[in-house]
Symmetry: none
């Protein structure tokens, strides 16, 4: 039982809210900033304490921002005894599971983790519907998720499910992952084998933020998925979005429906925390 | 993590309160009824759900009242997801520890256990001060607690501490336990060896309720502590109290200070539940 | 199993060392500074990372120093995957047990806790021998430890053992605790009952550092143990020690033997960490 | 915490290495012997203690070799307090998970388990590339793994992934499992339906060692996969390899790339053990 000491000073009776994201040092950070603004506005009446924690070690080193352990330790020091940790993760993969372990084991605080964006098949319906508004009707749409390198990770079930869902629901969708199965190599093979040959492709990253992954592995000048598709003779584009005068790859964080979805995840977690 | 399912119907957002007592089929039950009245009055504004659970199997069989598992299971079924379990136990002995294990492991509910009556040395001061008002100045006062049969049970520390405390703070106190150390046999020996011989003794049960233990082992006609002291030549009495037209052995449950103490234990547990 | 991710950057292969102390805002802090100097000198060849963590919330608020959770989270962020946490606690009481729980549960790091000063009866022999050099031969020595407020805390066994040890090994020793049993009230009663009456007493705090406890409860102008003994007609003194131009109550931290003892505790913990 | 007792005699400060294999009483044992030689040569400078443990009960009964519990108990008795257990398992299935549970719970020793051969999709790429050198260009290659009998075992994800990978990456590959899905019955059906009819097949066991499974279920005279394919009219072969004058079915253990891969798994586990 985590409920032990009643600190006599400075105990908070409200839960803290930790947004846990991979993080990025690229300009895709704007997607996190937009969510930060949304969340603070949405929960303004709660006067909730909202902090960010980053899972990428490199991002933490370069920005000095805390990881989940430092974030929880700091909240505990400031008198918080319960928290919701909402990951901005798309699927419940290895990183989500590690976060979950750290949160459930963290001494002295009761933590409820929010579900991921595509935690339920209903969410897959909702999110893909939103993203599908940006599909091209002619040519193909290549949706690319992060993937998991671990073969027996249950997250693979979701990736295989997305492959099945996208290729069966839409007439012109392909699905690949950057770091797992189905691989980009295999999807290139599938696309190359299409009859008649594909002329045009739109790349759609299924990632919260456009970071190094997107810039290099998907859209880079050489050896990227875009470069390989162009070598096959396709014309390749991807969506950009304008925000506060800057141009950004349109990652999931730029979809209002995705931000709303994550706010729903937070509300459900807060509700669990409230009733228990 | 216990916070899992959000039942869509009938979820309660307030904690339930379970009073866990050994139970009794003797008329000493009146002491529990008095506490029940106090607790319901004290927490009337909370509209709290208050239920009793009994740890004595024989009592449950004869009265049909629930044990802790049935009580928690029933509360869970009625939509409660958190509860305070306040034992009416005097010391954190074996039964308290078993209750604690069952509560911390109970699936689906977050339970905080209240501390026992004599959980802290400060409480020993407070409770004994209240009981000491009934000490006789001439003769001896023999305070009798339940005791623990397990040699390495940390509750023994408290029993030894009570022995030391009572014999050093008061000039005419003896301490024994019914089912542990120091035993009634050893205290009889000590009393028999007193010079000059003791003429008079008051027996004071340090139990919440007068039940079989008191009626037989302390005050019974034969082979009881009372009978053995009388055989040594002492005049032995014990306090009775009138309540609603009936006469009861004055056990701890008939002291207002003890009931207030237990209500404080409940408030601290509710506070822990609230902040975490 | 805590051994999971191999951080690709900045992993340390040496253990960190955390000294965990209650902390103080009084000038008794000098005792911690002396130990810090000793430890850094002793482990200079290891190039060990040595940090302090404080268990007193008030001390942390006033000094901005970290608690154990923040200290471990920070070490984990800097690449440490194993640590020894050496508490400067005298007995394995509640605070030691809470520290132990937090350390064994801390995600991502393997932590071995060092034993306390009086963890073994042999250590009681060693430490009391050192302190006994300051006993007065005429009059009485009143050794005062912190004590535990929880009746069933196994630390009480040690306090009772110290009482027995001191009163039997030495002809003129008394033992009391500030916040537990045996209480200062009870020991005052014992001293008052001595025949012939005691004329002189030396107060010897069995605490690492002289802080608020000592200044108020032991040596304060009114309502302290010193004041109460003086009211009984005793002449009361306590040892002071000069250090870097300042005068300090001679608490345990000013005994070289005690500092050596704690360094031995650290070495044993480092050894355990090394072999496992 | 496993770090408890410091045995005063004969404590080893280096980790032991346990190779955990299913085991075999057939002549396929040569594949284990080859690995044993490689491992001892590779870690010769460490002077590491290397022992084998077998998971097959029949093998242990017939050879008197130890299982994992006996191996760890014996190492603990000889003073080892930490160990790497490297399973020669191809996929993280039920047996791997059971080994993992036994290792993480083993009292008194800190154990890190190495990953399996095909733990990551990258490893699937590496190992299949090595095995593919033995594919026949004309006809079909039928790759057969062990499979898992448990429907909800995450290892199924890997088997399904292998099926997808092999059938999409190569123009003439089929995949089946001996004891799971996809079954040999289903793959026979697929092969029988091929147009034009398949004339020739090479059977490639994806098992570390050729044992009873191979000899009976794959290559046996009747009711084996080979016999069933021959009944369909195919000419069926499989690779043999000469080693120290004997002829062996070419199982995974006879590929240098596979042995190197397992040595990498051991090195990663040793690294984890070292940093934590």
């Amino acid at each position: 039982m985590k409920e032990r000491k009643l600190k006599k000073r400075n105990l908070k009776d409200t839960p803290a809210l930790v947004i846990a994201a991979f993080g990025t040092t690229s300009n895709g950070k704007a997607a996190y900033d937009i969510f930060d603004t949304s969340v603070r506005a949405y929960f303004a009446d709660n006067h909730a304490q909202i902090v960010w924690a980053y899972t990428s070690e490199i991002v933490r080193e370069k920005t000095g921002s805390p990881g989940i352990l430092q974030a929880l330790a700091s909240l505990e020091e400031h008198g918080y005894r319960k928290a919701v940790v909402q990951p901005l993760h798309i699927v419940p993969g290895t990183e989500y599971q590690e976060l979950a372990d750290m949160c459930s084991d963290f001494p002295g605080m009761r933590v409820v983790m929010g579900e991921t964006l595509l935690h339920r098949w209903q969410f897959v319906d909702d999110v893909i519907s939103a993203v599908a508004q940006d599909f091209i009707p002619e040519g193909i749409n290549v949706i690319v998720a992060h993937g998991t390198p671990l073969c027996a990770d249950p997250a693979n079930i979701l990736y295989q499910g997305l492959d099945y869902y996208l290729t069966h629901k839409f007439p012109n969708c392909f699905f690949a992952t950057i770091d797992g199965m189905p691989s980009m190599a295999l999807v290139l093979k599938k696309i190359a084998a299409e009859k008649p040959p594909v002329k045009r492709a739109r790349l759609i990253p299924l990632l919260y933020v456009s970071g190094l992954h997107v810039e290099k592995d998907l859209l880079g000048e050489s050896q990227s998925l875009k470069a390989n598709l162009e070598t096959l003779g396709l014309q390749v584009d991807y969506l950009s979005i304008l925000h506060e005068g800057g141009s950004f790859v349109k990652s999931l964080g730029f979809y209002e429906e995705v931000r709303s979805a994550f706010i729903n995840r937070i509300e459900r977690a807060l509700k669990l925390l409230y009733y228990y």
